[in-house]
Symmetry: C2
Subunit: 152 residues, 2 copies
C-alpha cells in the first residue's frame, strides 16, 4: 500500500472550549462548559439542539510533545493494573492527542453550545461536533425523526 500521499494532515479548529474557571476539575462530569464556535460557522449548528447528546472531537493542545511515542500505559496511571497498549485506553497521550467525549447538550445560543461532561480544559481547540444518533449504540437518547437511520 502506498503510504506516501498522506504525510501530514492539516486541521483548523472550528472553535474553542470556554470554562467558568481555569481551576475547574475537568473530570467532573456534572460541570457545564461552553463550546464557542467561530462566528462564520453559526448556521452549521442549526437543529443540533434537537439532539440530547453530541460527540465532541477536540485537540489536547496541552499534552506535552516529548517527540517520543507512548506505546503502553497502566490504565489511569494505576500501577496495580496491567500494562496495556495506548489504543486500548482512553489516555490522552495517543500518538495523535485527539479527545473524544460524548456530552449532554444543555442548550445552544447562536454560535455557543453549553455542554455537560466535557473533560477539556479552558481554551481547548475543538475539531468537530457530531450528533449522537442511531449509528452509535442507542440508549435513552433523544434523536429527531429526520436523523434516524433508515435501515436497508
Amino acid at each position: 500500500m502506498l503510504l506516501l500521499p498522506f504525510k501530514k494532515i492539516k486541521i483548523r479548529p472550528i472553535g474553542f472550549v470556554e470554562r467558568a474557571s481555569s481551576d475547574e476539575d475537568v473530570k467532573d462530569k456534572s460541570l457545564v462548559s461552553r463550546i464557542v464556535l467561530k462566528k462564520d460557522l453559526t448556521k452549521a449548528l442549526d437543529s443540533i439542539e434537537e439532539f440530547s447528546h453530541v460527540f465532541v472531537i477536540f485537540w489536547l493542545h496541552n499534552i506535552l510533545n516529548t517527540g517520543k511515542t507512548v506505546l503502553k500505559v497502566h490504565p489511569r496511571g494505576l500501577a496495580e493494573l496491567p500494562l496495556v497498549g495506548i489504543f486500548a485506553t482512553r489516555a490522552p497521550v495517543h500518538p495523535n492527542p485527539i479527545g473524544l467525549t460524548l456530552v449532554e447538550l444543555v442548550k445552544r445560543e447562536g454560535n455557543v453550545l453549553w455542554v455537560k461532561g466535557l473533560d477539556a480544559v479552558n481554551g481547548t481547540p475543538v475539531l468537530d461536533i457530531k450528533p449522537f444518533n442511531g449509528w452509535d449504540v442507542v440508549m435513552s437518547t433523544r434523536v429527531p425523526k429526520w436523523s434516524t437511520k433508515i435501515d436497508k
Copy 2:
C-alpha cells in the same frame, strides 16, 4: 479569547484502511475491513482485543476540498427532509472531514485490526482508535475490568 495560538494542527495518520475490494459498498455495516497500523505502533494495540467495540477516527481524504464551507444540508441528501446545520448531521462534509465510527472489533493480529462496520474507503488514513468503554453510554458491550470507569 485568544484564537491566535492555533491556526493549524498537524496530524500524522497512525495507519490506513484496507478493504477486500475498492468496489465494496462501505455503507454495508456487515462488511469486515482491516486497519493496518504503522509497524512501530504495534505494541500500542496490546489488549485492545479485550474490547468488543472500538471507535475509529479517520480522515475523509476523498472529500473534495472546494474551499467553500458547507453550512447546511438535507440529511442524507433527501430533499424532503428539513435543511439542517452540518453539525447536526453525520454528513462527511464537516469543516474538518473527520470520520467517527463505532465498529465491532473482530480480531487483532499484530499491527492489523479486523473491524466490522467501518464506513471508510480503501486507503483512508486513520487518525486514532479508542476503545468503547463505560465513558460512552454503555449497552451490551464487553469491557475488560481494568478499563471500567471508577465513579466517585
